[in-house]
């Protein structure tokens, strides 16, 4: 399939008051894809969108739209529309007029506008809301008006800046599905911003993980989850144990003095690496059957499974399992080769993936119950 890039960001640098906000950002966005920018607060997601929309000019770097240079073109001349983080609906106009705003600016005939608004209201499930004032709408309804208003202009690219952040969990789940369906129905490129990793994984064709103004990894949700490029990505996406390891040879890694088979190759002999093991991929067995052993330091019941923290040579692992264990138990762990993912060392090595502080929190949180539970057990 020939890749048709609708948008390209080339070497974008932005700084505010001498502080780097975007640091050499390169990104190609394919036509009609659902791409998500994911990253912690302040990593430059909104800034990236503002550059695409034209509200901000990069200090350095180029933006290409459909192969043409986009720099310096004002926002109102770009075939890009935005759903703002706080919706930015016009308080002085009713729902109908908000949605019609863009078409009015383009001087489309009144009959056409009417038809279009009616269709859009049906699309976002707000039939009969034409005359309502914005202030009388719920958060979810406002959000849908914002969507309708933005797509009324038939943009080629739609920018969505954390549009679901203000919604409650149930509505958020519904809207995730609705947005995804809408994107497929309309065939518009969606650039979606969120700092919720689960949202990013469930909705997107591709995910862009950002931190400190740099792209850490771009890939499909599966790529990002199964093959994180560095400790930051591994930690940010889902739960993960990130331990120090040494590549003995291809397909063999040493962790805590024990050699594990793995599926990764292409590292130097004896290269120090970061090893990612997802909590759900570890099996708990009797100490004598385990490849490595440790002591359970805390346990929390989460409904579907238990979350157990195991201390192995001073490093706290998180393990999700359906088998119960007790604090203080000695347990053995078994890790299958396909559960092991090897990453090159990076600036993030050693910063993430240890659950010692996490278990302290759990200890503190669960202490009161623990004592009563223990009392009940005895």
């Amino acid at each position: 399939m020939a890749k048709n890039n609708i948008l390209e960001l080339k070497d974008i640098y932005v700084s505010f008051d001498g502080e780097k906000v975007l640091d050499g950002l390169n990104l190609s966005i394919e036509d009609k894809e659902f791409i998500t920018l994911l990253g912690p607060s302040g990593c430059g997601k909104t800034t990236t969108l503002r550059i695409i929309a034209g509200f901000l000019d990069p200090d350095k770097g180029d933006v290409f739209f459909d192969g043409e240079k986009f720099n310096g073109i004002p926002p109102h001349k770009r075939q890009v529309n935005t759903i703002f983080q706080r919706y930015a609906l016009f308080p002085h106009l009713n729902v109908y007029e908000n949605i019609a705003f863009g078409m009015r600016v383009k001087k489309r005939p009144e009959a056409e506008i009417k038809q279009e608004v009616t269709d859009l209201l049906r699309l976002v499930n707000l039939e009969g809301f034409e005359k309502r004032r914005i202030s009388t709408l719920s958060g979810g309804q406002q959000q849908r008006v914002a969507i309708a208003r933005a797509i009324a202009n038939r943009p080629k690219v739609l920018l969505l800046d954390e549009p679901l952040a203000a919604l409650d969990l149930k509505l958020r789940k519904d809207m995730q599905k609705e947005l995804r369906n809408m994107q497929q129905k309309l065939g518009i490129t969606f650039i979606f911003v969120t700092h919720d990793q689960e949202e990013a994984l469930t909705m997107s064709d591709r995910v862009v993980v950002m931190d400190k103004g740099k792209i850490q990894q771009v890939g499909t949700p599966q790529d990002i989850y199964n093959e994180p490029k560095n400790a930051f990505v591994a930690d940010f996406i889902g739960e993960s144990n990130i331990v120090d390891g040494k590549m003995i040879e291809d397909y063999l890694v040493e962790i805590d003095g024990h050699n594990f088979k793995c599926l990764d190759a292409g590292f130097e002999k004896n290269e120090a690496v970061d090893v990612v093991i997802r909590p759900e991929d570890v099996d708990i067995v009797k100490p004598e059957d385990g490849e490595i052993c440790g002591e359970v330091t805390s346990i929390a019941f989460l409904g579907v499974h238990y979350e157990i923290i195991v201390d192995i040579c001073g490093f706290k692992w998180m393990i999700q399992t359906t088998d119960a264990a007790n604090v203080g138990d000695k347990v053995g762990l078994i890790i299958e080769p396909d559960a092991i993912h090897i990453m090159k060392k990076s600036e993030y090595s050693g910063l993430y993936g240890d659950y010692s502080s996490y278990s302290d929190e759990i200890d503190q949180l669960s202490n009161p119950e623990e004592t009563t539970e223990e009392a009940a057990h005895e």
């Binding site: 929309a53 509200f55 004002p74 926002p75 109102h76 890009v80 529309n81 935005t82 703002f84 706080r86 930015a88 609906l89 016009f90 308080p91 002085h92 106009l93 705003f101 863009g102 009015r104 600016v105 383009k106 004032r133 208003r149 933005a150 202009n153």
Partner: protein, 274 residues
């Protein structure tokens, strides 16, 4: 009643007393005088007499309308450009706008006499460069100028306040949807700043329509405004209190009607002008 209601009433009582003493009581006096003759007997004749002052009423309204429109035309763009400036510049301009208000109203008006007089600053300048002097003082133009100058801060202030509160993301949304600068102004800024315009108009029109000093000093004594008429009558001795009160009462009712109309515009949220 509950304790809180009682407590808050105690706290409010000085203000209620103040309002009663200095607002309600004088109003009652004016109404009383307006409907009685000097001997205290009930009469409509004072109210009837206002027909004699219809020219003064008409001029007052005409001048005030013109002055208000000019003030608005100057203030609105000024407020708009102010909101586009750096915050520090905005504050500076605000101080400059407010500065004249710290000076006495009479002195401000007097200073215009020295500028506009036949041998005043402007005409001295004109003759010095060989031009003919022009008549500036004692013209309707001078009166309107005085009104504009004296009351313009009351127009700029509310418009600027409302305008600077308009969320920038709304303007970004408008340009995102295809609006250029002018269409943003017309479709977003104008309607959203409408409440400020209304209160500015009110705050300028009301003092203009009842002013007396400006017209006397800058307009000569030819064209009396209604404020001048009231002042003149009150100064003419107790026999004229009744007619003066009637005039005041009518003026007050007129202003009240204006306020109601204005409030209707702002309250009925349909701020879609144009």
């Amino acid at each position: 009643m509950n304790k809180k209601g009682f407590g808050s009433r105690i706290v409010a009582s000085p203000y209620i007393l103040w309002a009663a003493l200095f607002v309600i009581v004088p109003l009652i006096f004016i109404a009383y005088f307006a409907f009685t003759d000097p001997s205290g007997a009930f009469t409509f004749s004072n109210i009837m007499q206002i027909a004699k002052y219809k020219k003064a009423f008409g001029l007052s309204i005409l001048y005030s309308v013109i002055a208000t429109i000019i003030t608005l035309l100057i203030s609105y763009p000024m407020a708009y450009f102010m909101t586009k400036m750096k915050v520090s510049s905005q504050k500076m301009i605000m101080v400059i706008v407010m500065l004249p208000m710290w000076m006495n109203f009479l002195i401000r008006t007097y200073s215009w006499i020295t500028i506009l007089a036949n041998k005043g600053l402007i005409n001295t300048f004109l003759t010095s460069i060989g031009l003919h002097p022009v008549k500036l003082i004692n013209t309707p133009g001078a009166v309107i100028l005085g009104m504009v100058y004296d009351f313009i801060p009351y127009m700029i202030l509310p418009i600027y306040t409302v305008m600077s509160k308009i969320d920038n993301s709304l303007l970004e949304a408008a340009s995102d949807l295809g609006s250029n600068g002018f269409s943003r102004l017309r479709k977003v800024i104008l309607p959203l700043s409408f409440p400020g315009v209304i209160s500015g108009i009110t705050m300028v029109f009301v003092p203009c329509v009842s002013t007396f000093y400006i017209s006397q000093k800058l307009g000569g004594n030819k064209n009396l405004l209604i404020g001048d008429a009231i002042e003149y009558l009150f100064n003419s001795g107790p026999d004229f209190y009744n007619v003066a009160s009637a005039l005041s009462l009518v003026l007050m009712v007129m202003i009240l009607i204006c306020l109601f109309v204005m409030n209707y515009f702002t309250d009925s949220e349909e701020a879609t002008v144009l």
